[in-house]
Amino acid sequence: MSAIEADRVGKRYRRTWALRECTLAIPPGQVVALAGPNGAGKTTLLRVLAGLAAPSQGQVRVLGSPPGSPQARDGVSYVDQQMPLYRSLRVRDILSVAEALNNRWDRDLALARLEAVGIPLRRRAGQLSGGQQAQVALTLALARRPELLLLDEPLASLDPLARQDVMGWLMTSVAEDGLSVVFSSHVVSELERVANYLVVLSAGQVQVAAPVDSLLATHLALIGPADSADSLAGQVEVVTITRAGRQAQALARTTSAPPGWSRRPVTMEELVLGYLKRPQARVVPELAALR
C-alpha cells in the first residue's frame, strides 16, 4: 500500500487550475521533499492530501483511504504553513483540545517535547513567538502518532538551531515509527539532507517524482566547451544547459559523460533548479509502473 497515491488529480479554484494531472505513488516510510516555486501548487496538493480541499478531478488515496475518511484522519497529520493555533487558548488547553479531538494522542510525548523546547504550558498561543508556535504545531501533529505527516513550509519561522532540532526530532520519528513525511519548501537546501524522495511541482503539474537516490544516480552535471553545447543534446538527454564564456555546464539525464565532457555528481538542489528551469522536462513514471 502506498502512503500517497494520486491519479491525475486536479484542483480548480473558479477558473484557475492550481493543480493539474498530478500522478504520484509514494511508498510508505519515505521522507518526501515537495519542492517548487511559489504558486506551483504545493500547498494545494498538501491540502488535498489532508482532506481540507476536495480534488476537482482525479482520485487520491492516503494510507489506502480517501483523504478526509475516518481512517485517513486517524493516520494523517497536517501542519499548515500558517501554523493555525487557537491563539486565545493556553498551551495546556490546546493540548486538552487536541486530546479530545483525536482518537490517538500521546500526551506524554507532547509534554516532553514542549518541555524540551521550553514552551510554558500556561502561555497563550497568541503570546508565543512564531518559532514557538511552529514548535507547538509540530508537537500537536506528532503527538497524534500519525503514519503520514504533511508539513507545509514547516521550518520557515524557525531559527537555524531550532530547524536542526526539529529535523532531528522528525528523523528520529521516521526511524523509530516508520513515519512517512512530506515536507514542502521552496528552499531545497533545507530538504536535501533528509529527503529520500523528491517531488517537484511546477505550474500545478508534477515535473519530477522519484526516489532521490535514483535521480542522483541517473543525472550528472556535465562540463565541457561551450561550442560543443549544441551537439550535446544529440548524445545525452539534456535537462538544462548554461553557458559561461567558453565553458558550458549541463544537467543531463545520463550515467556517463560523452567524449570531451567532464562529469560530476549533481546535488538535489541542482536537480530541482535544473528541472524548474525547463518545465517541459519530466521524470514522472506512470501510476501503473509506480504501483
Binding site: 491540502r47 489532508a50 482532506g51 481540507l52 480541499a53 476536495a54 478526509g68 475516518p70 484522519r73 486517524d74 494523517v76 497529520s77 497536517y78 499548515d80 500558517q82 493555525p84 493555533l85 487557537y86 491563539r87 487558548l89 488547553d93 486538552s96 483540545v97 487536541a98 479530545a100 479531538l101 483525536n102 482518537n103 490517538r104 504545531a137 500537536l140 497524534r144
Partner: protein, 334 residues
Amino acid sequence: MTIAVPPMTRVTWYRHRAALAGIIAVFGVATAFLIFDGVVLRSWVDAHHIAGCLVTAGSGKVKCHRSAALISFYDKTTFRPDIPWSLIAIAPALALFAGLPWVTREFDTGSFRYTWVQSISPRRWLLGTFGSLAVIAAAAAVLCGLAFGWWFRLAQWQGLYPGYPWYWEHFELTPLSMACWTLLAMALALVIGVVVRRTVPAMAAFVLTYGAWLFFADPWLRPHLFTIGTVVKPQSWASPSQGLSYQDNMVDNWFTGPGDHRVAIGSILRRIPPNLPDTNLDQWLARNHYTYWISYQPADRVWIFQLAWAAILLTAAAACVLAAAWLLRKRPAQ
C-alpha cells in the same frame, strides 16, 4: 466514579468557555431580575392583603373590585412591556454574539486548517459544538421562561388583560417557546456563519435574516396558525362574548344574509333603524335573515398551539442545522 464527557463537549468547554459563560450570564441576569421583581410584587400584594383578590390566571375573575389596595396595585405601576421585549431579544442577541462568532472566527483565524484535520470530522465538530452551545442555551432559556411565567402571573394584572394566554407576551415567553426561539436563533447563526464565513458580514446577514423571519412569523405566520381548526358558531351580536370564556381567542367574525352569503357589515349598519336599542339587535338580525358568526380557538387548545408553534420553530432550526452540515460538506474549506 468518573463521568464520560463527550469529546466535543470538552472541546466546546475549552474553546468557547466565554460564550458559554455569556449565555448563562445573560439568561441568569434576566432570571434573577424576574425573580427579584416578582418577590417585590408579591411582597407588596401580601402586605396589602390583596393576594386573595388576584385570582390565578385562568379563572378570569377579579375579586374585591372595590378594594382600594387592589386599585392602588393596578395604579402602582403599569405593566412594563420592555421586560417581555427584552426577553424576546435575548435569543437573537446571544446567537449574534455567542452563536455566530464561534463558526466565523474559525474561518477568520484559519484555525479550521487545524481543527478539520483531526480525527473528528468537520461535520462532527460543527454539530458537536453547536449541540453543546445550543443545549446550554436552551436549558437556560427554559429556566428563564419558568421565571417569567412566575413573574407574569402577577405582573400581568398591571395593565394587561390578565390570564389571556394568546398574547405574545404569554405565548412566546413560555419555557417551551423561549427554548425553541433560542434554538432557532442559534441554528440560524450557525448556517449563516457557515455560508458567509466572515464575522462582521455574517452578523449583518444574521440581523437581516432574523428580522425577516420575525416579520414573517409574528404578524403573519402565528395569526394564520391560530386560524387552523377554529370553532365556528352563530353568536349574539349584542353580546359577542356570550358563551365564550374570556381566554378563548376570537379569530374572525362575519355576517351572512339570506342564502348564507357573506354580507359586509357596512351594508347591515346602513339598514339598522337608527333608534334600535342594542338589546333588540339580535331580533332585528333574525327578522332580516342575518346571522352573526364567530370563529374562535377555545382556551384549552392553547397548549396544542404551543406545541405546534414549537414544532414549527424546531423544524426551521433543524433545517438550518442540516443546511449548515450539508454546506460544510459541499464547500469544506477555502
